[in-house]
């Protein structure tokens, strides 16, 4: 095998499962996720010479994330919230749930813990993509705030508030489903 291919096999392929998981959550569709991963892998292969030997997983995930955005924009234009508007969206939505400290009737932890997997999966799929990707990078891929901030291109404070809001919505949703 050529050097590029060996390098690709060592750097990218071990993270194919994580890449697929991220793409699947972003696209919410298995076959689109496969197309995105394949496209991302080709980009990674072309750019393998530029990989700096640090954090292969983060490098691969950020390529997958950017490829997913381009792909979704191309194939499902309109359904992806433009990144520039998301902060407004976040604030508009946050306002409706009021102040954190007086957050209305949040469900019991035990109720959330028992949540049906299919319902939870559906609730995650309904999150706006910026919330969803932040949540998935944290809870599924296990990245810390700094890594998530680098991949999504937002300040760490925004990562923290998106994560909290994503979880809040899921909690509220799971509480609603149960009643």
């Amino acid at each position: 095998m050529s050097d590029e291919r060996t390098r690709f096999a060592n750097v990218v392929l071990p993270h194919l499962g994580d890449a697929y998981a991220l793409a699947r959550w972003l696209a919410r569709n298995d076959s689109d996720a496969e197309d995105i991963v394949q496209e991302a892998c080709l980009s990674a292969f072309r750019g393998i010479a530029g990989f700096g030997n640090i954090n292969a997983r983060g490098w691969v995930l950020s390529i997958v994330r950017n490829t997913a955005y381009t792909w979704l924009k191309r194939h499902r234009d309109g359904k992806v919230v433009a990144v520039e508007n998301v902060e407004e969206v976040e604030h508009a939505r946050a306002d409706t749930s009021g102040d954190w400290a007086s957050a209305p009737a949040s469900p019991e932890a035990a109720l959330i813990e028992r949540a049906d997997a299919a319902r939870l999966e559906a609730a995650i799929a309904e999150l706006p993509i910026e919330f969803r990707e932040t949540l998935v990078l944290r809870e599924v891929e296990g990245l810390d705030y700094r890594a998530i901030a680098e991949i999504t291109g937002v300040p760490i404070g925004t990562v923290m508030s998106r994560l909290a809001r994503a979880r809040r919505r899921l909690m509220a949703q799971l509480g609603k489903d149960a009643t």
Binding site: L13, N53, G157
Partner: protein, 254 residues
Amino acid sequence: MTPSSNNASQESADDPFLLVHAYCDGELDPANALALERRMADDPRLAAERDRILALRSAMGRIKSHAVAPPALRAKVERAVGMRRAAVRPTWSALAASVVLAAAISVGATWSLLAPGGAVADEVVGNHIRALMATQPYDIASSDQHTVKPWFNGRIPVSPRVVDLASDGFPLVGGRIDVIARTPVPSLVYRARKHLISVTAMQGGGVPSPARTADGYHVIAWSAGGVSYWAVSDVGLDELQKFVKLFQAAPTSE
């Protein structure tokens, strides 16, 4: 930065509920974590938020079943970049047969086959990568050192040192048999957050070489009691060094 994202950071500094999320994500420094723990003890609303976050995490844990890429996708990607189909990992029975054979023909001389440091490091990294790409990174899955060690006993001449580092954040997840210079050797698999660390043990000391890095994987080698150890992972080098120190210092299970 837009004014609204400034608001987001501003608000995070003041809002104790946001801090609870950061606390559950391990993002607070010790002083702030301690202060928040006190506040949670006094304020049941904050404690309830913490419980909800942990409950949600545990519920999400049950749906994380997609970390394995479909085999067809792997094949498509390999074709797309012009690689041949990767070699299939040998089945356990074939591996077992080769272990027996190798042990039979090389009694006593087994370890002299070992390649010098650099080549061993390459093979250790190669074994680790192959393990990451397989359906499972180990041949036996167990977090119990008293299960993993005897499993090796039945398969290779020398069973490795197995230590319990779960309380230090490096739980044991299993063991496998790797092959280095045509010799079957035991490898232990530990978890470091979402990363895996493989520790391969080989008879014969005196090979330690400086830590090295290849394709994003760090390798640290050391020897103790006539055995050389090779730890490999894509965690940060400082975290791997911490792991190695703990591994060296931990009491051995019998």
